[in-house]
Each structure stands twice: as C-alpha cells, then as structure tokens.
Symmetry: D3
C-alpha cells in the first residue's frame, strides 16, 4: 500500500479502541497513514463514585492522551452511555462523522448479536449503515457535510471476551507497537480501576493475554485479529490492513 | 448449588414461560430458590372476540394462577402486544425490572433472528442489555431503583417451533415437575383455545411432544433445553441450572 | 399448486425486486397467480444530480413500467431512503400492506445481518413481523384494514452480492422468463446509470451472471434462488414456489 | 411430478429407514413411484443374547416384512455392523447398488460429523460418492453393472436425536401414511426390545414424537423432514419429494 | 456428583492431555474420581535428532511422570505418529480401550475438520465410535474385553490454537490445579524444546495464556473450556464435569 | 512480498486447477514466484468412449499444455479416479510431494464435507495432513525425501458450484490474467466436451460467470476467491496471495 490511507476507528466508549485495535492503529500511524479515533459515548456510566460531569471530563482527557500516544486524531461524539438508539438523529450524526473524515478504512466492533454491550452493537450497525449512505445525495436528513465519493472497507476488531464465537480471518503483527498499545490503554486510569472492581479482569493483563494468543496463532509475539465486512462495494482484492 | 438463587424468567406474553421453561422454574422453586416470572406484554391481541379490557384482565388472572402453581412471584409489565420497541423508555423499564428483582439467573427467549414474534426478540434483547446496565451508575435515565452488584447469568429457553435452528446445550430433567408445567399451562385457558383456532397446534400436546423429545436426547422422561449467553462477565464455571 | 396464490414481493427500493426475483414473479403471473410488488422507499437518494422531486417521479414511473412487464400490481409506499426505522408507525404501514394484499406468499430481502443496506434489513424485519401481526385483533394501533386469516409463507430472495454468506435452498427455473426479467430491470434507466457510476457494476450484466450461476447449480440455463423463513405457522409441506 | 421416479432409501441398519423416512416412502409408493430400500449392514450387533446367525436371520425377515408394508423392494447388502469402512471394495458395492437401481432420488442419513454411529456417516458418504461415480466409465474397479445416465438428487432424512444440530429445510406430510410407518417399524420386533434395553427410548413412541413435532412445524398432523445435498448436478428447480 | 466417576482422557500424543485438560483431570482426581489418560501414538516423530527408540522411551517416561503428578493412570497405546487410520484394527484397539476402562466420561480432541493434526481428528473419531460400539455384542471383531453397559458422556477439550473456530460451552475452574497442570506439562521436556524449535511457541507460556483467557471468560483466574458431544444416549441433564 | 515464493496448487484431476485458481497462479508466475501444479488422479474416468490408456495420455498432454500457459511446472501423480483413499501409502506420496516442492503456499480444494467429488475432499485432506508431517523426522514410512523446514500456508480455492455454502474471505484480482486462465482451461479439450455431455455446463462459460461474480464482489472485472486454513503454524500476519 503505497497510497496514504485515512483510517477511522470507531469505538462505543473510551478504552474500547485501545483494548481492541490500538496496536494496529499505531502501525498505520507509523506507516504514515492518517488515523482517526471516534468515540461515540462519553463514558458517563464508567464510574462507581464520580458525578457525570467529573467522569466525563476525566475520560475525555484520558482518551485524548491515549490518542496522542497512538498518533491518532480524536473525535468525541457525545452520546450518553446506554443512550444510543437506532434513530434518524443518530444516523445523521454517524453519516456526518463519515463525511467529515472520509475514511478509506473503518475499524469497529464485531457484529455478532451477542456482545456484552448494546452500545457496541449499535455503534457497529450505525457506522456500517452511515458509511454506505455517506456517498448518497438527496437524503432527507439534516446533514452538515456533503457526500463523499467512496464506500470504505470495514473491518471488525477482535472482541473475543465480549462474544465467544468471534474469530478473526486477518491478523496484524503488533509486536513493534504493543508497548504503545499498553501505554495508550494505561491512560484510561479511571476505567482500569472501575472495570477491575465491577468485573474482575485487569485489562492491561487481558490485552497481553489476547495479543499473545493471536500472536501464537499467526507466528509472531503479539498480534491483533480482524474480520472483514463482506458486502460489495467494500471488499478489495489486496490488503488494506498493515 | 447450596446458595439460594434469585431466578428471573422473562417472557414476552402470558403463556410463553409456561410453554418453554415452567418445568425448570418449578424445580428451582422446589429446591428452595426464589423464582420470579415477568411478563412484558399484556396479551391484548390474544383473542378473536374479546375486548382489550376483557382479555387483558383474563390473561392477568390466568398468569397469576399459573405462577402460583409453579411457585413463582409474578411481575406484569404493561406493554401492548406488538408495541415493544427498542427505546430508552423500554430500556428504563427493563433496567428497573432487573434492579427490583436482583436476579442471579435470567431465563428468556432465544436470540435467533428468525422467531415467530418480534416481541420475543425484543424481550430478549432488552433484558440482555438491561441486565448489563443495571449494575452501572450515572445512567442518564429515569430509574426508580439503585444499581445492583451482579451481572446475572442468562440462559435462553428452547423455543424450537418458533425458530427451527435453535439447539440446546444444557438440559434440565423435568420429569418430577412435568405435571406442574402442564397444570400451569392449563391456566391459560383463553390462549389454548385462541392459539388452536389461529394456528392449529394444541399447546398442551405440543409441550408434551417437546418435553419428550428433549427427554429422549438426555435420557430421561421429560426435559427442557437451554443455551447460555456466552459473554463475560456472565458465564460461571459451575452449573446454575437445576 | 392448482390454487391461485396471491404473491407479494417486498423490496426496499425500486429495482431490488427486478434484480432479485422478477423471473420468479413473471412465472407466477404466467401461471395465473396474482402478483403484487410493494416498494418501501421512494428512491430519492438514487441520483447524483437530480432533485428529490424529479428522481422520485422518474423512479415511480420506471417501477410502474417494470411491474407492467412482469405482470404485477405495484404498491408504492412512501418512506424516504435511509429513513425506515423500526417504529410503531412503520409497523402499522406494513401491517396494513399485508392486510390489504392478503398474500399467501411473501418474497423479500434475506435476513443476514450483513447486507449492503439497512433499508434492506428493516424491510425484511418489518414485513416479517407485520405478516404475523396482520392476523391479530385488538392491536393498539392505527390500522385501516381488518385482520386477515392466514400467516403467509415467506421466502428470502438471493441477494448474494450484498451479503456473501447467503445461500439458497430452493431454486426456480427462470429460463422462460429471463428476458422479461431483463426487460423489467431495463426500465430502471435512472438506476442502471447511477449504480454504474457509484459502484461500478452494470446490473443488467450482473443479473445475467447471477442467473447463469444459479442455473448451473440446478441444471437449467437461468435460475433464481430462495430460502424459506423457517418458523411455524409459515412452512408448508409442499412447494409454493413456481 | 407426473414422471414415475425410482427412489432409493439407504439406511445403515434394519429399522433406520422405518424410523426416519418410511412415511415419505409410503407416499412415494402410493403415488405410483418405485421405491427401493437398501440396508447396508446386516444388524448382527443388534442383540443382547442371540447368536449372529440367529439375529441376522431375524432382522432380514423383519426388514422384508417392513418393506412389504411400505410397498418397497428390499436390497440387503451384507456388511457387518461396525465393519463398514471407506475402502475401494465398499465403494464398488455402493456403485453397483446405484447402477442396479438407477434411482432419480436417493434418501439417506444426514452428513453432520456428530452422529450416534459411524455406520450412519459412512453409509451417507459412500452412497453420495457412489452415486456420482456410477455415471462414469473406465473406473479401475470390479463392477458388475454398466454406467448409468443420471446423477440422482440426494436428500438427507431427519435423524434429530442422533445429531442435535440437524434441521430440515423440506417437509413431507405423512398424515396419511403415519399408520403405515408405525406398522412397518413394528415389524422390527427384535430391535424395539433391544434398543429399549440398551438406550431406554421406545422407538414407536419416539417416531410419534418426532412426526408430531415436524407436523407442528409445517402445519399438519404428522410430517417428516429432509435436507438436500446442495452440489451440482444434483439440485432440481422443482420438488422431487412427495 | 456424589457418585465416583471413571474418567478417560484420550490424547493423540504425549503432552496433548497436559496442554488441553490436565487442570480438569487433576480436579477430578482430587475429588476422588478415578482418572485414566490414554495416549494413542507413541510420539516417535517428536524429535529433530533422536532415534525412534530413544524418543519413544523418553516420551513414555515423561508421560508417566506427568500422569503421576495429575493423579491419573496411564495407558499407552502404540500407534506410530501419522500412522493412525480409520481401520477395523484401529477400531478394535479403541473398543478394547473403552471396555477395559469402562468410563462414565470421555474427554478428547475437538471434532472440527480443521485441526493441526490428522492424528487428533482420528483419535476423536475412533474414540467416539468405539465408545458406542463398546456396548454391543456380536461384533465381528477380535476383541479382548466383553461389552460394557454404558455409553459414556463425551466432552471435547479446548484446542483453540489448532482450530480457530472452536469455542467451549462449558468451563472448569482450574485455579486450584493450575500449578499441577504446569508441573505435569513440564515433564514433557523433550517436547517443550522440540516444539519451540519447530513452531516457535513456548507451550508452558501458551497454557498460561489460554487458561487466563478462559478464566477471564468465566470469572476465575484459570479455567479450561469444553464442549459436549450432542448425540443420544450421551447427554445427561446434570453436570458431569468438575 | 519481495521474497520469491514456491507455490503449490494441488487439484484432484486435470482441469480442477484451471477452473478454480489459474488466474491467481498466473499472477504468481508473472510476479516471479515459482509455481507448481500437482494433479493427483490421472483422469481415466473423464471420458464416455475412450480407453483408459487413450484418455490418460490425452489428459496428461492437455495438463502439460495448460501448465505451460500458466507458467507452472507440472507434477502428475498417478492415482486412479475414485481410487484415492486415506491410507498410509497415499499419505506417503503426498508427504513426498510436499518435501519435493518445499512450498511456502499450498492452494487446494475446499474442506466442506459436501463436494461433488470424494477425490476433491481426499486431495484436500491428504495435502493438509502431509504438509504438516513433511516437517517431521522419524516417521515410520517409506519416504524418498528428507524433512522440510516450513509448514506452508494453505488456501482453499473457490469451488462454489461443487458445494453451495463455500464463501471466500480473500480475493485476487485476475483481470490481467483472465485470458491466460481461459486459454489454459481451453487445453482440456477432452473435458470440455465430456463435462458438457455428462453434466450440461460449458466450463469455459462457467469460469467467466464465476470470475465476473467474484469480480463484482471486490470491485474489479475478474477475480478468484480463497479462504485460509486457520490453524497454527500456518497463518501469517501479512498477505501471501498476489
């Protein structure tokens, strides 16, 4: 891939991107591609003791620090946690996101109906649909940006603990960027503590385990796994992943 | 399982629970666990000749009698048939249901996209999502109950006639409670007559057929089948079914 | 099948029906069955340079000419492109569509979660649910037509390019009606030009390729493939396809 | 289907055909088609107390009586139970079986890798392959019969208890022949007793349960389910089942 | 489970059992059940520089030490690596293995057609079939042991790296036995070195990664995953795993 | 991919490779990689009127001409049609094939259990297993070549008409080599005539249809589709297809 790509990673909450595909994004960035991270929900429910205002501010700062480490530009949308629904208004926001970024490649949550979170599933569904409609004229919607010319490729990242039947068909070697991934995830201090209390796992250890496992599968130390949205006109007969 | 469990069965309409998992609920009740049945829609469309007011009253009474026979506490929500949608208001109602009951185990409709009823599918989707969010603070919602501390295990009951590709991975022997199941289902007099006229099958005979089939498969006279929602932090490395 | 059938094909946009099942509809019509084509969205986004008013008028005329060639009655609903959502209002429109036509057989988009278009997926979901509820009384909805007596069989047409994991289980020989199919599709002049510019494929050539492929698979020159919605009380122990 | 069909049902052991598809075979026979039942293994292991010689004689007689009731011609092959392997010699026997009968339709065990019996799986695999090769000349094999001109359609019968993930896509109404099915199965006196002792189920009751279940699914009293082998040049764009 | 169970783990080569299910076997042993490990192939190909005689002797000793640590009785069969085929002779050996041990539960390789090794697949296939036939009389085979009375439950262990689409439906908490698992695996000194040279992964680290991952999924520190063979008369409506 | 790859395409009969992956092989050859085509069966059954000796000679010549056009080296094994079985002798032949060629990449038939031909399935199974064992020492086999150092990546080509549920995850643009593909296939004069008589399809037209379809899916004029064998140590975190 000589061509410079615009890559848009879309995660439901701050930290999803770091857990699932930060190693790959860092490789894109190192290769000179332009990387955007869009976070859909502001993460207000990710706390046991802080106010909405406090936690939202904290998480936005953490997300920005993480994006900086990855080498990505951050775009925070502002949906409330658990308040994303499949409505015209939401679709408008997602279409404008695509039109603003004009990505060649989108990376987002996997589509399996069973996932820990509806925010994950709806993020995937909305960005998939929005990235199709973003090319169309004449939509009966309130949109800020004009149509774009390309329907991007779309890859699902690996969210194996959140849906045990997910399996990648494409691997990216992140041995050279795994430290960046961990450092980026480490910025989400509020969540590493919160998730540990709520669910148990230490996510810094978890990403080590997953990256090692995917690495074993494809013969490198650390890897991330992906699967492609297989509908026309998305698929390309060459590799667009790093 | 020495520990007493709170078990919440969630069915779209009056009679779904009796058809699909009443034998298992009766076993939970007999073992001293606390069993709740929540019915989401009030069953107004389950008639060919009665008024909404009449049929809703009849079905609530039938559901209460059935719950009594099973040994369960009944919680009637009040959605209209075919009027359940994936909205913030519906999600709030479901989150409060989970927070009110605080279940360790939820049993509900299977997730396969092809099911006889959208009410079935949306009931599953809403209770799955609500039982995740019920543990979270700071939601931007109108909620009556405070967050709970546990994300419950979730099992899908066997609704084989309503989706022919469904298959259980766990079986419960209901030989000792099959009569209770039939008696509970028999309370739904209005439906046994209505469904026979609309669709043909006699559901008292149907549950006999299904329970015998699942019994053949696992080596007992009567059984019910289930499948587990396989996402963290739901799964347990021990059996929570009877 | 001696009995005359009412057959309802439901497509999201003008041209979906022609691309996917016009050969089969023409066979139904030639065999003396009554064929309806319902188009859900008015196709306003199917242009690069025309106004909404212009393109909607053009596409309605094209759709009517195509229906005439197939031998079908056209029912245009009037949703905007990308403006179909799973709401009570939409469900009402679909229930009334079913009650108006009273079909024995419905043919529509396939259910796979990955499809080029959300309009496709929602059309399928709404017509599936509506055709169940159309038989019910007492719905808390604004409906123009009274309940119907039969829950129709429902078949998914073959939309292979829009979801690469779709595979038919039933084939219809359209060798005798393939020219009708092409002629009907040719009426959608505005789309053949628009789609070629947007996505590349010439859809007249594409339908030739797909019909040949399905033909090879079942031993005839041209064929269309289908899959049945497998829930009771839909399935019949005899063939309802031509 | 005006044309008279030659139909070949192939079961691993005496009683498999009666349990799984006798109702359909009886319908073929009543419609004037010619029906053959071929049993691959002689059933020597189907006893707890008889000698090989005794049980083999008994089962051949039972199979003949059952075939007579169905209206089918019986062809007993003579493999030992658990002694069917995928060898050249076995393939020769199966090719000659196909060439002898010249069937338009074959009905046999389903292909799922998990089935109670390897004899079931190998019977399926051998008859599938043999019915392809039966049309070929020049095979380096010891064959008694000359090549045939047609590669038959092939349907898998429903063996749901022997592989819980099997699901039919085609149904046959056997309400009119269910008594024939039960009477034919009743001839296998030695097995009904043996299987009850070994495994528990009473197979006369089991077939009632399965036929009722498949009947509920397709809207009749009793039915049998099938699935088609989906490879060219097998599939037909019309129904070859009754 | 008050009853003492006989548990038979069947692995193709020395070290498969330790990698995949030693934690569970150790839990069975600690709970007072009787545990057998049967190794099918003698491991002659597991070296880069030793003679067949040397490596076979070394691996038998390593396997014995590992079995001792787990608390299991070792049964070495003596097939050559890559020399296991589906023949009558092999089936006889496997039937006699089952008849000798008389297990209530068998644990073995998963059935997915894509696995790193045919020895894995054939071991699974042979032990599945043998454990059905072991109950039968009158087999035309050279068998040393008389028929047994029970068809055992059969579980597939988790061999995720060897087939990326495998997913467990049952989990066993091995936090208390994980050190035993690692110590048992450590006995296979010849393989840890050999596999590292041939393929890269350090298997002591790999089992840590897999056990952590399965632990995250079910909420404990270390776990092993399993899936049940779903055919009658195998399945039980209660848990037979620890 | 700067590195020169050794690519081994393995087809059951002369013409399989040309039908399924010749466009991709020609691209490998044009890019300077070394391409081998191995044909397992000598094609003796591919005739209606010629003697074994005649047809075998003809097909070997046709295969050689086709390989020349593709730019590949041809290795004819000499199994009889329908005479490939999973035996030690066959496995030895396949291991030696791998050791002789030392491929980095193998391309062969897909693994789906339902395929038109057992020769296809066994070819896949044997080459998959052989390419694992080829790296091992000490095998108790008669082998001509010493062990190799690498376990190759393995891709399944697209054989969609021979198994309707196959779907590619990787595409190769063969627009630039499609004429080579057709010309190579055209050398199989004996088969184009024979297959037309036996089955109907004209395979020159069929490959046009399939290549167009796969082209539509990935946005080019002509393409071929592939899927990867997903077991370690096969998978690579970069593209090895052209």
């Amino acid at each position: 891939m000589k061509k410079k790509l615009w890559v848009l990673a879309v995660g439901a909450h701050p930290d999803d991107i770091e857990i699932c595909c930060a190693g790959t994004l860092a490789r894109y960035a190192q290769d000179g591609h332009r990387v955007f991270i869009s976070i859909i929900c502001r993460g207000n429910a990710g706390t046991l003791d802080k106010s909405v205002q406090e936690i939202v501010k904290i998480r936005a700062e953490e997300a920005q620090e993480a994006a900086n480490i990855i080498g990505a530009e951050l775009i925070m949308l502002n949906f409330g946690d658990a308040e994303l629904f499949y409505t015209k208004e939401a679709l408008e926001v997602f279409i404008d996101l695509v039109r603003q970024v004009k990505p060649h490649v989108i990376i987002t949550h996997p589509p399996e109906e069973e996932n820990v979170h509806n925010d994950h599933l709806l993020t995937r569904r909305l960005i998939m649909d929005a990235s199709l409609w973003a090319t169309h004229h004449n939509l009966g919607m309130e949109l800020k940006y004009p149509p774009v010319g390309i329907t991007p490729s779309l890859f699902y990242f690996d969210q194996y603990m959140s849906g045990f039947n997910i399996h990648p068909t494409h691997y990216v070697d992140i041995t050279s960027t795994f430290e960046i991934k961990k450092k980026a995830l480490s910025q989400h201090r509020s969540q590493l503590s919160f998730l540990g209390k709520l669910y148990g796992p230490n996510f810094l250890e978890y990403v080590e385990v997953m990256a090692r496992l995917r690495g074993y599968q494809c013969g490198v130390k650390y890897a991330e796994g992906f699967r492609e949205l297989a509908v026309y006109p998305r698929v390309r007969p060459y590799r667009v992943l790093p």
